[in-house]
């Protein structure tokens, strides 16, 4: 295969990965890793490098729109970024000492978890009385809805912060945004309304990924020949996805994709178990 053919096929694949990632809410980076390793037989380390870049690109692109709408809680994001960036740097350091097969298995497990998280019941209720810590850290805020501004408060700040550290470690170790864990920490633990937790999680993914991306760049995980089609393809797919989302409610599509992703996850675990990486 020539470089031109490889680039074009990968570009198309990355576009689909970005589209699926955006429609399911899993993020483009997560879908890129199995695409590169299972389909193109690329070493998982190059796949992780490319996926991190895809995560930064899609999250920054989407965040620019959400921030302007005033849904993102910037203070909350900044506070939790302490946890995720420390975790991400730790994760990138641990990655050197972790066998690639173990990383593949862990990736599969997290992918299964993420897919199941996207079809769970979402927290729509705004909490009216938050904890002392949330008040002290100025984390309580309001966000615009169809019925006007809705104020919300939050609780379990410490537990949320701890889950965020774990999300950061996994992000650094696996090269993914760990959006599912981030939403779990904010949505289920800190009781933040769904809309705020998804946009704030997305806002944080770029910074979390950048923290470990620097380490990976210096270690040669980011190959130019792979990064080029992956960044442009995923970005294009995510853009198309966001346009589609405003016009249709992809509930059925989401279920189909989540089942497909689960099969991919099992394949990753199976191959990792058989030392295929």
């Amino acid at each position: 295969m020539t470089i031109l053919t490889f680039t074009l096929i990968l570009l198309a694949g990355a576009y689909l990965a970005g589209l699926v990632g955006s429609l399911t809410g899993l993020g483009g980076g997560v879908v890129v890793i199995p695409l590169l390793t299972l389909v193109f037989h690329v070493d998982i380390r190059y796949a992780i490098g490319a996926a991190l870049l895809a995560s930064i690109a899609t999250s920054s692109g989407a965040a620019s729109a959400y921030v302007k709408e005033g849904i993102t809680n910037i203070r909350l994001g900044m506070f939790l970024e302490i946890a995720t960036t420390i975790g991400a740097v730790l994760g990138a350091v641990i990655a050197v000492y972790t066998p690639t097969n173990a990383i593949a298995i862990l990736f599969g497990v997290i992918l299964l978890f993420s897919a199941s998280m996207t079809i769970r019941k979402k927290n729509q209720e705004a909490l009216t009385t938050g904890s002392k810590a949330s008040l002290k850290l100025k984390l309580n805020n309001s966000y615009p809805t169809r019925d006007g501004e809705v104020s919300y408060q939050l609780k379990n700040v410490g537990v949320g912060f701890s889950i965020m550290t774990l999300a950061g470690v996994l992000s650094g170790l696996l090269g993914i945004g760990s959006g599912a864990l981030k939403v779990l920490a904010m949505d289920s633990t800190m009781h933040i309304p769904f809309k705020v937790s998804t946009t704030t999680s997305n806002f944080m993914i770029g910074v979390t990924a950048a923290a470990s991306a620097v380490v990976y760049l210096q270690r040669g995980y980011m190959d130019a020949g792979i990064a080029f089609p992956v960044i442009l393809g995923v970005l294009g797919g995510a853009f198309t996805g966001s346009k589609l989302l405003t016009r249709l409610d992809p509930k059925v599509l989401k279920y189909i994709f989540c089942v497909a992703i689960s099969f991919v996850a099992v394949e990753m675990i199976y191959n990792g178990y058989n030392h295929q990486f």
Binding site: I3, A57, S60, S64, M78, T85, Q218, D223, I226, A227
Partner: protein, 133 residues
């Protein structure tokens, strides 16, 4: 007092607007650099066979430090240009944190100035911790 409050809200929205703009520009600029580098890469070596991506060679491929990348761009090395785009992409969210810091300084929010500096410090440890730039 009322005047001060409205001024504060204005600053808050300005910063959010600025962050949104900076994120968008960062991604667009990075993608353009990657696209230019990619086109040069395809014209130069599009017909060659693909490298052995199934084995990882890490830093032996070069272009893992800013010095090497700038040198690559200067000599119109296609991969060097792509990696410059990669650096621009990674810099985008880091720059966003720096912008937020400016916002919190304008608002005189001491607690969040400290929190933002902590995040920036972690990023710096990550950048310089490998003792390679």
């Amino acid at each position: 007092m009322k005047n001060m409050a409205s001024k504060k809200i204005l600053a808050d929205q300005d910063i959010e607007w600025l962050i949104g703009l900076q994120l968008r520009f960062g991604v667009v600029i990075a993608s353009l650099i990657v696209l230019i580098g990619g086109l040069v890469y395809l014209t130069q070596s599009g017909t060659s066979a693909i490298p052995h991506y199934h084995s990882f060679i890490g830093t032996k491929a070069g272009l893992t430090t800013l010095g090497e990348i700038f040198k690559g761009v200067y000599t119109i090395n296609a991969k060097g240009i792509i990696e410059l785009g990669v650096v621009a992409l990674i810099a985008t969210p880091i720059l966003r944190v720096a912008f937020s810091l400016v916002g919190f300084i304008i608002e005189k929010d001491k607690m969040y100035i400290c929190i933002t500096i902590t995040v920036l410090a972690v990023m710096m440890v990550s950048i310089f911790g490998g003792s390679k730039i």
